[in-house]
Amino acid sequence: MGAILINLTYILSSILIILGIKMLGSATTARKGNLISAVGMLVAIVVTLFDHHILHWTWIVAGLGVGSLIGGVWASRVAMTGMPELVALFNGFGGLASVAVGWGEYLRVQRMGWEKYLEGMSTPAFTLGAIVLAVLIGGITFTGSFVAYLKLSGRMSGRPTLFSGQKALNALVFAVILVLGVLLVLSEGLPAVLPHAHAILITIVCLSLLLGVLGVLPIGGGDMPVVIAFLNSFSGLAGSAAGFVIVNTVLVVAGCLVGASGVILTVIMCKAMNRTLGNVLFGGFGAASGGGAGAKVEGEMKGISVEDAYYVLEAANSVVIVPGYGMAVAQAQHAVKELGSVLEKRGIEVRYAIHPVAGRMPGHMNVLLAEADVPYEQLCEMDDVNPTIANVDVAIVIGANDVVNPSAADDPTSPIYGMPIINVHEARTVFALKRGKGAGFSGLENALFFRSNCRMLYGDAKETVSQLVGQFKEQ
């Protein structure tokens, strides 16, 4: 197959991927969009196999087979509650693949010599620069995603890991990478550097991997939606950089689209927390030493029994359910849906209010509630619920904390002051389902729990909700 035909097919593949992304943005077309972009990907893979550079098939066939098998089995087995960490892990693999591509291409250059490798398509300095970017961004993506995976799956504490001199160390590592990167790019003209070029590249790979770990360590579990979106953007950019190495249009375009979409999601998530990206990445938010913990909360938390909660709910006309990460941890989504159904049968209006950063990845709660078959039209966004919240009889907070903390609205000394929240404290009654009396992940006391209209339902969220449902069924 000639180079022109291959490139024409790449255009087709790009069109399919672009259409796919566009269709992913609307609920009615999303599934088809995903399929179309998958077809685009398949076209790109198949046509690449006709590339004249490809001489050996054993590794390729084995790689395609093994990769498809692992990815397929993993994706079809994972429970919906395990979704955030799996997406993080897949994302990291994409980053590591880009590292391997960059490194592998460098080895090929060394073997073939520049003239034969470039075929007049590029210049050594440009290709080296692209290789540096591919391994740098890809390396950060891999280890960063992996640490995110460990934090999300609970194999590692979700709290930020901070130590003194952390920022200085990160800055130093980054600066060293930059210097080495520049040296490598210029290495063709520097006879003193040239013999060590491969060693420099290996050092850059290692330092990039280190930087990914160091970068995500200080970021707390509640900020994970931002981190995942950000790393997603990075994995695309790493692919794009790899595209510049092998001078391949579809790789550049598709990688770039992912980069852009990741940036948009990141910005949306940051806005939902009223924080800048810099603050999320470098703020060490929610650390135990976090200082400025806001005004002391006065009063005490008042518990309520399941029976009493039932009588209040039974008399309600309008109920809003606010799910959070705790619902995911307790895997309570099916029980919650059942509660919603029994309430509805009693003629009570039920809505689910979803904060943009509830959970551990963008849209996390939507996925879980969709899995539990909660009707689409009952899912409401924060801005739709807040104006009508004063007419709500009961707001049930299930494992959510910071996103309903009224300190964000009225306590200027609170670290989360200014973050948009769901104003459940303005509802007539609030039930908060919570494991125990401790502060949430962010280490912040939640002023909501001390309000006079708030009652605590202690215990495992799934059990508590099931008991409530049981009460309704007994009657």
Partner: protein, 98 residues
Amino acid sequence: MSLILLLFTFVLAVFLGFELIKKVPSQLHTPLMSGSNAISGITIVGALVAAGAAEGLFASILGFSAVVLAMINVVGGYLVTDRMLGMFKKKDKGPQAK
């Protein structure tokens, strides 16, 4: 010249990317993210070239790893996204809508 064209394409793709995804309802954030995550596996194209053209054991291993990793990202990413969207869709037709 082809380099300039490639950079040109890159810049245009940045703008296209922003325009495409500017307005996405929040319930689609997860599928969009995992779908675009699958697309980032496009680095498989680079992996195939790296694996197919590699000479020497270490380069071949690098290429092979790149193909495996990128393929996990691609296949896993698309499948997971499809599973998720399947759940969203089920409800649209579902009888329990009031």
